[in-house]
């Protein structure tokens, strides 16, 4: 994998933050992002958009913003720790009530269904991956993206998103939840650009600190304005993000 990478653009959506200045202010004083705002996703044709629920609309809105009209051959990596947990919970409850499944809900219940709606609507034929890896979900997305760069991709679109966990799952949560989606274009580092690196090592013996944000948002904060490093201890691994000035 490349030693360093660059971020050529980023876009984000969350309730209550409406522009880049708002995100930069948030990155200086981050907080949980919760609310009802839903993006319009007007870039997507209505016949396809009708099937995309709120979480998907957040994810695809930042994907559209970030990918713009760039070449259709940009590979995409979608990453969500919990995915469409609310949708699958609804289906499980319907199953418990012995009600018939909605074919539409069933068809959209896989982890990569949101990414697939994006690919179909934009007629993309490029590589599309969707990953989940516990708290280290954003890290897993970047490992895939760096692998794609190493294979020769000029850049990779990374989309990280999650929503509030349904109440029934809250007891299992090990970090706070937020409604958010962000996307960035990851590329090899150029001559004049600031590079980032991501490394992984066996975890030390220190106890992980209790996070104030879902880790996916910590990574966004780091990429926008954070300090020189960001560490995550997850399972047996210690992930380290570093900004090289």
């Amino acid at each position: 994998m490349p030693q360093q990478f660059s971020i050529s653009d980023w876009q984000a959506f969350a309730p209550g933050i409406h522009d880049r200045a708002g995100w930069e202010a948030w990155a200086r004083a981050p907080s949980l992002l919760r609310g009802e705002d839903t993006p319009t996703l007007r870039e997507m044709p209505p016949l396809q958009r009708r099937r995309v629920d709120r979480l998907g609309r957040m994810a695809l809105q930042v994907a559209y913003w970030c990918q713009g009209d760039t070449a259709a051959d940009v590979p995409q990596v979608f990453a969500s720790r919990h995915g469409d947990a609310a949708r699958t919970l609804e289906m499980l409850l319907a199953l418990a009530r012995e009600e018939p499944f909605s074919p539409t809900q069933f068809g959209l219940s896989t982890h990569n269904a949101i990414a697939a709606q994006y690919g179909i609507a934009r007629k993309l034929v490029s590589n599309s991956l969707t990953v989940a890896a516990g708290a280290a979900t954003a890290e897993a997305a970047f490992v895939e993206a760096l692998g794609l760069l190493a294979e020769g991709a000029a850049e990779v679109l990374v989309v990280v998103y999650d929503g509030r966990l349904p109440t029934v799952y809250q007891a299992y949560a090990d970090e706070p939840d937020s409604d958010y989606a962000w996307a960035c274009r990851v590329a090899p580092v150029g001559d004049e650009q600031r590079g980032y690196s991501l490394t992984v090592a066996p975890a030390g013996s220190s106890t992980p600190t209790r996070r104030q944000l879902p880790h996916g948002l910590e990574v966004l904060q780091f990429l926008i304005a954070g300090s020189g490093t960001l560490a995550l201890q997850e399972a047996a691994c210690c992930w380290c993000w570093r900004r090289h000035d």
Partner: protein, 97 residues
């Protein structure tokens, strides 16, 4: 009292989540699938489920007869009128969710 045709149009709009579509936008004689409204095969399954819940109708997936019944709102109305039985619901579509 709503006509069956208007009722079925409302059912299609709510079942298919056709945002920004009104019953007047749906041509009763036009094809529902592919051309016309542009609905697809998942919509056909979803519509079959909605007709079962609403009118107690059972359709076999992918039979020639089903294709005929699904060819337009008019064809669907004729089929529902001739075959509907329990549950006979007089609730507006919005309250059935």
């Amino acid at each position: 009292m709503q006509t069956l045709e208007a009722e079925i149009k409302e059912l299609i709009i709510s079942t298919m989540a056709l945002e920004d579509t009104t019953p007047d936008d749906i041509d009763s004689a036009a094809p529902l699938f592919n051309e016309g409204l542009g609905l697809d095969s998942i919509d056909a399954l979803e519509l079959g489920l909605a007709l079962h819940k609403r009118y107690g109708l059972t359709l076999s997936a992918d039979s020639e007869a089903t294709r005929r019944h699904f060819s337009s709102v008019q064809a669907l109305c004729a089929f529902v009128a001739a075959n509907r039985h329990q549950p006979q619901s007089s609730l507006p579509v919005g309250q059935l969710a």
